[in-house]
Amino acid sequence: MLEIVQQGLEASVQDLYGRPGYYSQGIPPSGAQDGLSLGLANLLVGNDKNEAGIEITMLGPQVRFRDAHTIALAGGDLSPKLNGNPVPMWETVGVKAGDLLSFGRMMNGCRAYLAVAGGIDVPLVLGSKATYARGEIGGHEGRVLRKGDVLKVGKPAVAPVDLEGRRVDPSRIPKFGAHADLRVVIGVESYVYTEHGIKTFLSTDWQVSSKIDRVGYRYLGPQLECVTRTPPFGAGSDPTNVVDSGYPVGSVHTTGPGVEPILLPNDAVSGGGFATIGTVIAVDLDRVGQSKTGDTTRFTSVRIDDGYRAWDERENLLMESSIVQGR
């Protein structure tokens, strides 16, 4: 078991693949915003890659372990410490009952992942352990973690002694600089934007705003030129309004003509009345989850086959072959 003794900014229980199949009812997939990092942390401690861990955003909580566990930390570097001493990431760490995990300055990235051998033991809701806080389902009581929460840990699949000294192959550790390049498939309702507007979208170094969470990432930059048109009946009054349609997870739309693109990550709202300009390929949502306020982001147009290929490459990283034993 482990206990949250101080809350931090936002920590929640998440798995890797979330809760697909309920989007038509307005329930998004959820799951780790940087799935690759959670998956690698799980593999380190002998878990299934889709097992539940804790997603820790920007300002970490303090976690007290009540029993001995093998843990691993991955993702953004939030200066993790064990009993006040720096603790390495991307490798297994043995903790004793009473040990305190805390975090300090955000050095790079935006989200760290804590995996515990055996996984965080929360009930499956609609097939997943992922938290969807806005819909109050999944994870620990359908919400982000609070001071005083006690989480159970499942039975480890691998004996602790066999987990000692495991680390991620250094060549396979993702890097999170202050600039993210995201690959996007232009389309859906891109006809609402002019050619010039789309060119502006693809040639701007967008600034990541302070409005970033699991539901939306908002970017600051120039206004995108939209076509001149009368909005269709039922759509609303703004030229970028469309009759409410589905928002793909990873899609980008603007509000009120061509201003401040919003990207919808894993807790996306499933539909609405703003014109989608394009959709970021699934694999690059990992990178979105590690970008933070003040970083820059550039969108590059790609074809769907580039997305498929990149996804296969990621799935190939999420295997035991990415883990090396010993030093």
Binding site: S24, D244, S251, V280
Partner: protein
């Protein structure tokens, strides 16, 4: 305007987007729902989910089993084989509503500065915008109009509702707030453009607030009997019939919902889009008249 045939596009590398019309037309919503059902019936391996919206849909697929281009080919085949709109098995559900209730009134008061005129409760503003002489006549007109669920989503279980049996130009309409509210009570019933919505969770929003219904539409903990199978009550095609209740009636139904003794009056019906489109007012009257 409706497209002669649907427009297909990629929604990134996980979805295909299918658009029947860029305008709100019930006929196109019926087509969207018919095709969504036909796609499900085709059991195409690799489809994760069909996600219909008002006049378009997303189809999520598993890229390890299915390429978007071959999926689009299959979908076009289904579209071409749909020579007429299929019957839609659906339900008429009773929705008690307390108009100008204290909770949405308090919310409207809190966001007065975001409202077009600052009028609280919003229902009187909406009644006047639609040329009703008073609140009562507006309520009577609304309760006489069944509303069709054109789409479910935005937040879990939230229905987008459109009036049945009236033309676009006769639909009750209202502008949205100038600036959205940062919260809205759950079960609040709002009007934006010609659409009604019921807020499923406490959430931001910009629709004019008319009242609050007793009926939960999303039950995250699946406590209530009608939610044992699924935390979401409504499906596209469900028909809502509004019933004005006073505070006593509201409280009585609500306590029955809380203790599990109140069950929503639900009547199963088969909706025939072709019949509706031939005579919207007459068909609607016949459909609703039986109960």
């Amino acid at each position: 305007m409706a497209h002669r045939s649907a427009r297909y596009d990629y929604g990134g590398d996980r979805y295909v987007f299918v658009e029947f019309s860029i305008d709100m037309e019930l006929a196109q919503n019926f087509k969207t729902l018919s095709m969504a059902e036909a796609i499900k019936q085709a059991h195409i391996p690799g489809i994760v989910e069909v996600i219909p919206s008002i006049c378009s849909m997303l189809v999520e697929y598993d890229r390890t089993k299915l390429h978007a281009d071959s999926l689009i080919g299959r979908l076009k085949g289904i579209e071409q084989s749909m020579t007429q709109l299929t019957q839609i098995p659906t339900r008429i559900i009773d929705f008690p509503i307390l108009f100008a209730d204290p909770w949405t009134t308090e919310c409207a008061e809190a966001f007065k500065g975001h409202h077009n005129t600052g009028e609280v409760p919003n229902i009187d503003f909406v009644a006047r915008e639609n040329h009703f002489p008073d609140r009562e006549s507006f309520i009577n007109a609304l309760c006489a109009t069944p509303y069709w669920t054109v789409m479910v989503g935005f937040t879990p279980g939230l229905p987008w509702l459109y009036p049945l049996g009236v033309g676009n130009e006769e639909a009750i309409q209202a502008p949205k707030y100038n600036r959205p509210r940062t919260w809205t009570p759950d079960r609040a019933v709002g009007l934006g453009g010609a659409f009604l919505a019921i807020y499923s969770v406490r959430n931001p929003g910009g629709y004019q607030l008319l009242g609050r219904t007793t009926n939960p539409i999303y039950d995250a903990r699946q406590r209530y009997p009608d939610f044992k199978e699924n935390p979401v009550l409504l499906k596209p095609g469900d028909i809502l019939r509004w019933r004005s209740v006073d505070r006593d009636g509201y409280d009585r139904i609500w306590s029955g919902i809380e203790d599990g003794t109140y069950r929503f009056p639900i009547r199963k019906v088969t909706f025939e889009p072709e019949g509706y489109l031939r005579d919207p007012p007459g068909y609607t009257k016949g459909l609703m008249g039986g109960g």
